[in-house]
Every structure is written in C-alpha cells, then in structure tokens.
C-alpha cells in the first residue's frame, strides 16, 4: 500500500547505491524533481534505465551517480546531443559509464514484459541492425509455430521505478493522463516504486471528468507517493504546465561545458534545498 512520504524520505528509503533505477515519462511527466533529489543525496553506481535519457539522466550522469545506462535514444529532443552523456561515453568524465543500447521498440516491449511478469520480450525487431553485434542482451529465438526468427530482449525489472503523475488521491491511487509513455509499465515492473504527483485530491473517482478506462495505478501497486509541485519541470504535466522548450535549448549551452554544468548543478540542485 502506497505510503505518503516526502520526496527526500522516499528517495532515501528506496534508492540504494548500486540499485537499478528506471525513471520514466516519455518526454511528458519526466520526474525531474526526483532525479534532483537522487543527485542531492549523492547516490552512486546506479544502473539507470530509460528509453530517452533526456536532460534528467544527463544531469545524473554529469553528477557522477551513474555506472551503467540502458537506453534507446540519448539526445536532447529537437536540440541535439546530451553533452554530459557524450562526455562520459567519449571521454570518461566524471567517469566511464557502461551502456546497453536498444531500440525504442525493444525497450517498450521490455517494459511491457517486465510489467507482465515475463523474463523476456519478443518482437519483430533488430532485423539488419548492427545493435545486436554490440549488445549481448539482444538474442534471437525461433517461433515454434511458424519457424520465424524473432528478436528477444530481457524484460526490464528495476529495483525501483520513479515516475511523475498528475494526481494521487488519499488512498494512493494515481491518475496519469495525456502521453502516458511506459509509466504504468515501469511502476508495475519494479520491486519498489515512487510516484511524485502535482497534487493530492480526495478521491479520483469523484472527479467530475473521471473516465472508466482512465490510466490509473492503484495505491496498492505503489510503494511511496511524494508531492512534488512542478515536479516534472522543464518537462511538462498535461493540464498543469507546458514544456519549457526554451530551457531544453538552453541546456545545450549549459551542458556543453563541464564547469558551466557543475556550476548549474551547484546552484539549481545541490543548493536548491529540496523537501524534507
């Protein structure tokens, strides 16, 4: 049953050094507040999973929290590179990181399989791609009915998943709306889960626009809920605030330079308090 904790306490309790952590949200609802809390608590040796590392993992990598990255598209969407990710991969700053690289389809299927309690995902994928040459986590199986060769990847089963959502109610049930990405899958695939939310409402089911097939994660499938207003900024929360595309562009300048980045991190993360 979901426990209501401060973001500080939720991260302190569930994110251990060396853990495998998935912070999800496909462009939308990226859990930036939680990512910053992980940086502030100086977690180390994390294996991070995320389809699109985005700025949040660029920051975690630059801050030295990351040992390994499992991902499928590591750019700054519409802008260019993730310079902290590149610096770690190309030059080993602040230290070398290991990467396991997939396609989106494979990662999406791997999250789905993780939520479905399966050890593997099967897909029509990777045909002719050289990714299987450099990622030993991509194998091929034969369909026992048709003989067709199909790709297989291990399912995603993180120690902890962290997602951001619009609303939780007092029983811990969480509503996700808009671009829902792989958030439900991330939560269900993980051993523990932290959901940060924009706000707590009394009861989701009495909301005026509640929908019988809404994307809702019940409280009993979540470990901890923490309120984090604007918790996905500079990403966005459908119905709350828009994506700050300008900041995404500015990030290119900030992240390009180690010192500018370090200073940004100091001012905007380490010394930005957080909640306790």
């Amino acid at each position: 049953m979901a426990e209501f904790l401060s973001l500080h306490d939720a991260v302190a309790r569930y994110v251990e050094d060396g853990a495998t952590v998935a912070m999800e949200g496909f462009t939308h609802l990226i859990p930036f507040a939680a990512g910053h809390e992980v940086i502030r608590q100086r977690k180390r040796d994390l294996t991070l999973i995320r389809m699109t590392p985005d700025l949040v993992y660029d920051q975690l990598i630059g801050a030295g929290c990351v040992k390994k990255l499992i991902f499928s598209w590591g750019g700054n969407p519409g802008v260019g590179s993730l310079h902290r990710l590149r610096d770690a991969v190309e030059k080993g700053w602040p230290h070398k990181i290991e990467i396991h690289e997939h396609s989106h389809a494979a990662m999406a299927c791997a999250f789905e399989a993780g939520a479905a309690g399966l050890p593997l995902a099967v897909l029509r994928g990777y045909v002719g791609s050289e990714l299987p040459n450099v990622n030993d986590q991509i194998k091929f199986i034969e369909c026992p009915f048709t003989g067709e060769r199909l790709a297989a990847v291990p399912s995603v089963r993180p120690d902890v998943s962290i997602v951001h959502a619009q609303k939780a109610d007092r029983k811990g049930n969480v509503l996700v709306e808009g671009i829902i990405g792989v958030q439900k899958e991330a939560v269900l695939a993980a051993k523990y889960s932290i959901v940060t939310v924009e706000e707590i409402v009394d009861d989701l089911m009495t909301l005026p626009d509640y929908h019988p097939n809404a994307c809702v994660i019940p409280g009993w499938a979540i470990s901890a809920i923490a309120v984090a207003e604007k918790g996905s900024y500079p990403s966005y929360a459908h119905g709350y605030y828009p994506r700050d595309n300008r900041f995404y562009k500015e990030w290119d300048t900030i992240a390009r330079d180690r010192e500018v980045f370090t200073q940004w991190l100091e001012e905007n993360v380490y010394n930005a308090g957080g909640q306790s």
């Binding site: 462009t27 991902f71 499928s72 969407p77 045909v127 671009i179 994307c215 700050d244 300008r246």
Partner: protein, 258 residues
Amino acid sequence: MSLEYTSAEMMTVTAARALENGMTCFVGIGLPSEAANLARLTHAPEVVLIYESGTLQTKPDVLPLSIGDGELCESALTTVSVPEMFRYWLQGGHISVGFLGTAQIDRYCNLNTTLIGDYHDPKVRLPGGGGAPEIATNAHEVFITLKHSKRTFVKDVDFITTLGFGRDGKGRDGVPNIGKGPTRAITDLCVMKPDPETKELVVVSLHPGVSREDVYDATGWEIRFAEQLESTPEPNAHELEVLRELKERTARKHTGEV
C-alpha cells in the same frame, strides 16, 4: 512567375509532396515532422500523422520540438501507451510510411544514428536508434529526408543502426513480414530512389538550379543518375506560404513568446 525559396524549403516541400492523402505516417522528429505537417496543411489534409510518443492521428498547430510535446497529445484522436504504439500500431502493420531523418546514410540506404568511429571508442556519440530500427522494417515503406553533404552521404555507414538494404543490398531478401524499406530519399539537392535490382541509391530528380556536379561533390561515393533524370517541380506559392507561417508560429512558440 518565379518564386524565391531556399534549398531547405525546396527539400521540405518535395518531402511533403511524397505523402498522399490517407496514408498513415509514422513521423520522425525534425525534418520529417516539418514535411509531414506541411503535407497535412496543404495537399493531404487526411494524412494520418503518428508520433512514437503514442499520439495517434495528431494535428499540431505548431511543429513539436520534441516527439512528445503537449500539442501532439492535445490535437490527437487518442493517445496510447508507448508499448501499444510500437506493438499494435507499428509492428501490427498499420503504418504505410515511416518518415525518417538520419545523421549518416550510405549507398544502400542504411542509416547510422549511433556513432562516428568505433563503437567501443567513439569519436562522436550520436543519440542512437530510437524508433528507427523497427520503423524501417515494420512500416510498409520508408521515406528519408536529410541535408546532402559528404559527411552525411557516405559509401558505408560506420554503423548500421537502421536497415536500408544492408551492406550488400540484400538485407531484406528472404526476410518474412518485412516492409519494402526506403523507397526514396529527399535532400536539399535532389530525390534519390534505390535501384530496383542492386538497391543502390540513384538520383532520379534534380532540384531546380542543382547540377549533377553539385550532387556528385556532396556525395561520398560515385553516385549514379537515372537515365531519365527529372527536374523536381518547384514549390508553389501556397506551399511556401503555409510552410513559412508554420515555421514562424513554431519559432514564436518555442522561444516562449506565445
């Protein structure tokens, strides 16, 4: 009447014209998205645009910066989960055309968005595959659009992120349930199509004012030209107007002026 337009506009308009009304198009961000939305706002109002963020049949008023901008969801018929998008809609065979950009392309239309140099010691680490590897094989066909240069058009890509026709042009032969692959590549200089036999890219149409030499000099291999080399039709005034307005709206939005 002669219109003023840039080579980038020529590229976008030509790419847009490749899309037909009623096609279902899985749209990559950047140039493909610009072309796909121009098509929707001009000759193909019923083209169905699908972005990998889960937004089905979306009609954004401005171009999204990211693949998952709020605009895409708000103007979509519905938004599904990302696993559903890749499983049911792409892999399920409902996409007529995948529209892709790339960092590198080679003579067999293979795409590299992974890295320059050696995988384990890259000179330049690029963003990676994203949706492209399966878009390229599960969509019925693929259009590619990118700027023409010796840096982007190489004889052999450093890494095949996404299959065109493989290292030897035979990468799709005998593979069951696979799309036709790239059927055209549109640049700021010309339109290319794979040779029906060898699958090597052949220039089929030169944009107005572009010479064979221009293309030759911007391509990293000895590119061939079709016997019946055509001249790409110019953009018309309406296309240019719609495109410019779209880009202006987009710029205003993404710099936060709106």
